[in-house]
């Protein structure tokens, strides 16, 4: 099979992987080599589904000996199989990079003969790229659960980001749907990576020449909707991963029905809206100072379909509002629906010069369509005061087209903001 035919199979097999981030790593160009990484990340193209393309995202192989129920590549499924040689991946990456098609490589794989054999070949790809070809571009490498910790360590030395997929939100579901994968074989490398990242940071403080370990950090991914966990369980899991494992990102991937296996729920379509809401809630965890327990509770275990999680929170907490835009601190401004990180920063920067009026809000580019129900400027409200949450709810629905059908498109909040 020629490289083009393999590419078709192995990029098609990788297309559902949500993670495309290529930012957060600062790697200098090796003096005789090619490529660097950009702190803010660069999109090189946008595919026909509107998603950013920044990395050559492929599987090394889709020839899997495992049989995870939710996966197209499971051993019992009849699909065409292919595997790249290490050299083919190296050449593709360099050929694409030199023409400025990509920021770098995102390499994952099905489990070939064994986790070690697979991981060994993946590490060979990045080792060749870094040490022989002096490639300085971005590399994201997936860790195959069950491979030796030696290979995990090596992977972290060459890659900018490494990730271990957590796959499903609970151990019970993992056992049911991916019986060959064990919770420990996922959590152990995660913890190892976390420790190595920390100790490399400490060492580099003492000595700038100490080797970096996965400088863009660690991420993971879980499948949403293939198992019965509610959003509250999922968000608490993510919160724990951010806090305890020091993860940079958790990616959520709406389950795409790929088989009629009776262990799986019957879905008419992938739960895209749910995935979208989880990304929004995740965003609140990481950048807005919310906790999972503020967003959801045992009585309210699933995210609102109609409203984004921040608006839903605001409607449940009328006592918090209105917020005075000329006095509120940054953290408080961030809690106002319709005011994001950029707007909050702009408000704080502009009010140093003079008090901000409703017209001033427009000038500095804050969209007040949604925010106006929740703020005052120098004591004046934007809307009639004393509106009940029920009334606000209604007006939001009318004014924003909230009743419109859920977005068909997968959106990554903030990635392209």
């Amino acid at each position: 099979m020629d490289t083009l035919a393999k590419l078709q199979i192995l990029s098609g097999a990788a297309r559902y992987d949500a993670s495309c981030a290529s930012s957060g790593s600062k790697r200098e160009v090796p003096s005789c080599g090619t490529g660097n990484t950009s702190q803010s990340g660069i999109c090189h193209s946008w595919s026909d589904d509107g998603r950013c393309i920044s990395l050559l995202k492929i599987l090394l192989s889709n020839d899997c000996r495992y049989d995870c129920a939710y996966c197209v590549n499971r051993s019992t499924n009849s699909v065409e199989r292919a595997s790249f040689t290490a050299r083919e991946v190296v050449d593709l990456t360099l050929d694409f990079y030199r023409r400025n098609y990509i920021e770098g490589l995102f390499l994952s794989s099905a489990v070939m003969q064994s986790p070690d054999v697979t991981m060994e070949r993946m590490v060979r790809v990045v080792e060749t790229l870094r040490t022989e070809e002096h490639f300085g571009g971005y590399i994201h490498l997936k860790i195959i659960p069950g491979c030796s910790s030696e290979l995990v360590r090596k992977a972290g030395l060459y890659a900018d980001r490494i990730s271990v997929n957590i796959e499903l939100p609970s151990q019970v579901s993992l056992q049911r749907l991916a019986p060959q994968k064990h919770k420990d074989s996922i959590l152990e490398p995660m913890a190892l990576i976390g420790r190595e990242i920390n100790s490399s940071l400490v060492e580099r403080q003492a000595d700038r020449r100490a080797p970096r370990f996965a400088p863009a950090g660690q991420s993971t991914q879980m499948i949403i909707g293939a198992s019965p966990e509610n959003d509250f369980q999922i968000l608490r899991l993510s919160q724990g991963l951010y806090k305890k494992m020091n993860l940079k990102r958790v990616y959520y991937s709406a389950y795409v029905p790929v088989s009629a296996d009776n262990r799986l729920p019957v879905l008419a379509a992938p739960p895209l809206l749910r995935e979208h809401r989880l990304y929004q809630a995740d965003w609140l965890l990481r950048f807005y100072g919310f906790s999972a327990e503020e967003i959801l509770s045992d009585d309210l275990p699933n995210l609102d379909e109609t409203f984004d999680p921040k608006t839903a929170w605001a409607l449940r907490h009328p006592e918090f509002f209105p917020v005075e835009i000329n006095r509120a601190d940054y953290a408080t401004l961030l809690r106002v629906p319709g005011i994001g990180v950029t707007s909050a920063k702009r408000i704080i920067a502009a009010r140093r010069f003079s008090a901000i009026t409703p017209e001033g809000m427009k000038k500095i580019g804050v969209v007040i369509k949604r925010a106006k129900y929740f703020i005052t400027s120098s004591g004046r409200s934007f809307e009639k005061p004393d509106q009940t949450p029920a009334l606000i709810r209604q007006q939001l629905l009318l004014g924003e087209g909230y009743g419109a059908p859920p977005p068909r498109q997968l959106v990554f909040p903030g990635l392209f903001a």
């Binding site: 090619t34 595919s47 026909d48 098609y101």
Partner: protein, 246 residues
């Protein structure tokens, strides 16, 4: 009150030296207008001649006192916008007064205008870092053609000088007929009047076909969204995008 009105020769250096002169001589630059000379007989206003050294020293002083404003000025100049001299003058005088805080003063219309234009130029520069496409030529060098709205060939070339330093390459701005060339560790800029694309290397079409294949397969078929694609990647850039050919 009638504003004092000044004229300059329409060049970038002329603009900066006029601003430097006004900041020095005028007690309140916010009350002053600056426009390009049109050489009509009865043009009103006082002409300020171009002084390259004065222009440079203004930029260096600005960079020292407020790197943010200097960066904004640099990006603004990439936009080659006409008719905004007075706003720029007011912006720079505010920048010297407020330092790096100035870009937050978006309720001031001069600040808002200048920052908006600079942002737009900066956005295209960032976008182009991703959208530029090189083709390999028969002699082993790489060539990228483009038609950006802003005059960004300089900062773009600096970006690729670091990123693709191991290969020999050219950038060519088709609209402005300007080119950048990187070879053997030196970067040069120039203009090209007559341009003919040299022959491509033998394996070039093969690599392009791989990229086109990847581009097609990586999209999720059930989630086609041409509108989102076009808003992220406006069609005016498609002409030189390898994945949008063939």
């Amino acid at each position: 009150m009638l504003m004092n009105r000044y004229l300059y020769d329409g060049t970038a250096d002329g603009l900066l030296s006029a601003i430097a002169w006004i900041l020095e001589e005028e007690p309140d630059p916010q009350q002053v207008a600056l426009v390009e000379r049109e050489n009509t007989l009865f043009e009103e206003g006082f002409f300020i001649g171009t002084d390259v050294i004065l222009a440079e020293s203004l930029f260096f002083r600005l960079r020292k006192q407020t790197p943010d404003a200097a960066h904004t000025l640099y990006s603004f100049m990439l936009a080659e916008k006409e008719g905004m001299e007075t706003s720029l003058l007011h912006y720079i005088s505010l920048a010297f007064r407020y330092g790096d805080k100035v870009n937050g003063y978006l309720t001031h219309s001069a600040v808002q205008e200048i920052v908006a234009i600079a942002k737009k130029a900066g956005r295209e520069l960032h976008r182009m870092k991703g959208l530029l496409r090189f083709e390999k030529l028969r002699d082993g060098a790489y060539l990228a053609k483009m038609e950006p709205d802003h005059n960004i060939i300089h900062p773009l070339a600096y970006h690729f000088r670091t990123r693709l330093r191991a290969q020999h390459w050219f950038l060519y701005d088709v609209k402005r007929r300007t080119a950048a060339r990187w070879s053997n560790g030196t970067l040069q800029f120039g203009t090209i009047e007559q341009f003919t694309t040299p022959p491509l290397s033998d394996d070039e079409k093969k690599v392009q076909a791989m990229w086109q294949t990847f581009f097609k397969t990586i999209a999720i078929p059930d989630r086609k969204n041409a509108r989102l694609q076009k808003s992220n990647m406006p069609m005016k850039y498609w002409k030189y995008l390898t994945e949008k050919q063939g």
